[in-house]
Symmetry: C2
Subunit: 241 residues, 2 copies
DNA sequence: CAATTATGTGAGCACTGCTCTTGCCAAAAT
DNA sequence: ATTTTGGCAAGAGCAGTGCTCACATAATTG
């Protein structure tokens, strides 16, 4: 799109990137709480006040990091999805789950930044909501594939959502997966919250008394949730190999 | 147990309580990040350094608040459990869920303190693990009731956990619910993570694009998870009325 | 070239967690 | 009853923070 025009713009873009990189480095070491604008500036060899030409305040820097983290995780999920044949629905489901967990474990502080407690009084300018939706969209993508292939065991016995929940789900469906039945989408939301609840528990140390290390529990949950949402077993299609 | 002996001990206990109360007040307003020892001291009419006689540092104060929060939430869950007749298994399940959510919504910053990102490098001295287990123990209590009554539809068709997960579940079972089958306990852990994942998403603003407000979604999830873990429907027993 | 605008500088404010010395006064020991 | 001990509050002080502002300097635009 807009090619970088002047020298200044070029320098500005580069410095902005370097600031974020250094901030990310500090974030990865000590966590968001210990991220200090002064330390970032120091490391970059500039005076702290200069940094305010690039980010109006600390929260704005953090918001930028949040958006980047959402996008990094979203990309991870999307490529995991793409790396499995679209005939192997359950395999895709599995690999997306595993990729998300792997990223979270590799970047615990960035994970905490986006799925932990919100930093200020209230978060989420519109900037964050689109990147944040990438992972759930991938999960729904798996469901759509399965639905299109006719392998999704959509629940005829499943209890229907209440009327207001149905309306919410309906609104969600039109923008995301119009063909999927409401019950399926409602279960998808449940599964989505389960995934990140499980990850947060693992990373935040809540599982220490019970299922820690949680590798096997995670694998178990993958299959249970795949069943729960109606995905076919491995043999359906040609998944096994 | 040990009655408070000297006048000093008495004063110390009281001041410790007052410090925690004031800290909790500030926590509730602005969140853990904004909790300042100096502000607490100021509000209590003492000099900031005096506060270090009672808590070695900020983290120790926060840990005390964490323990208190776990206990407050645990108590809430336990009394919700006790308030429903033990014949109405699903009713208990429901009310425990609702009570936990109500507390979380009423004390969002305390919730974030215990279920959000951990504050320092690593959290959780042993002090926190026992209070933290009170809510999951209540949920397991419901399952045990149902099992004892013979109404729990324990999954014969449910996939068995892997061997190492089985071992972990086994160890968990012996200390908590020896009679429950491993599959049930494994699902209980899934459900537990789902509950708090759902609450975190609601409180941290992750549901805004989809099912917000989430009252109906929460109610839906209650029933879905009750089914998932094998609880009987309302009519089993004499629940309806 | 001149005027404007974007960027870097350094001092400074108000705040934080935390430490240390000083003096006080209640509690235990003599 | 008097001395010693030890818990406690006070206040100064250190190093660090986010952020603002007046000022100088460089790049862009008219």
């Amino acid at each position: 799109m807009s090619a970088i025009r002047t020298v200044r713009d070029r320098a500005r873009a580069e410095l902005t990137r370097e600031i974020k990189n250094e901030a990310r480095r500090q974030l990865a070491i000590e966590g968001a709480n210990a991220l200090s604008l002064r330390a970032v500036a120091r490391e970059l060899g500039m005076v702290s006040s200069a940094l305010y030409r690039y980010f109006r305040n600390r929260d704005e820097l953090l918001t930028a990091l949040i958006v980047d983290a959402y996008n990094a995780l979203g990309e991870i999920a999307e490529s995991a999805f793409a790396a499995v044949a679209d005939t192997d629905v359950r395999g895709r489901w599995r690999e997306v789950y595993r990729a998300v967990r792997a990223w979270a474990r590799r970047h615990p502080h960035e994970y905490a930044l986006i799925y932990g407690s919100p930093i200020p009084g209230y978060r989420a300018p519109q900037d964050t909501v689109t990147p944040a939706s990438r992972v759930p969209l991938v999960l729904i993508g798996v469901l759509r594939d399965s639905w299109a292939a006719g392998t999704l065991r959509a629940g005829s016995g499943w209890p229907p959502p209440s009327t207001t929940l149905s309306a919410q789900i309906e609104r969600l469906a039109t923008s995301v997966a119009p063909e999927l039945p409401g019950q399926v989408l409602a279960r998808a939301v449940i599964v989505w919250t389960q995934l990140f609840g499980m990850l947060s528990f693992e990373l935040f140390g809540q599982l220490v008394g019970s299922v820690d290390p949680s590798d096997d529990f995670f694998e178990h949950a993958i299959e249970q949730m795949a069943d729960f949402v109606g995905l076919p077993a491995d043999d359906a299609g040609d998944a096994g190999r």
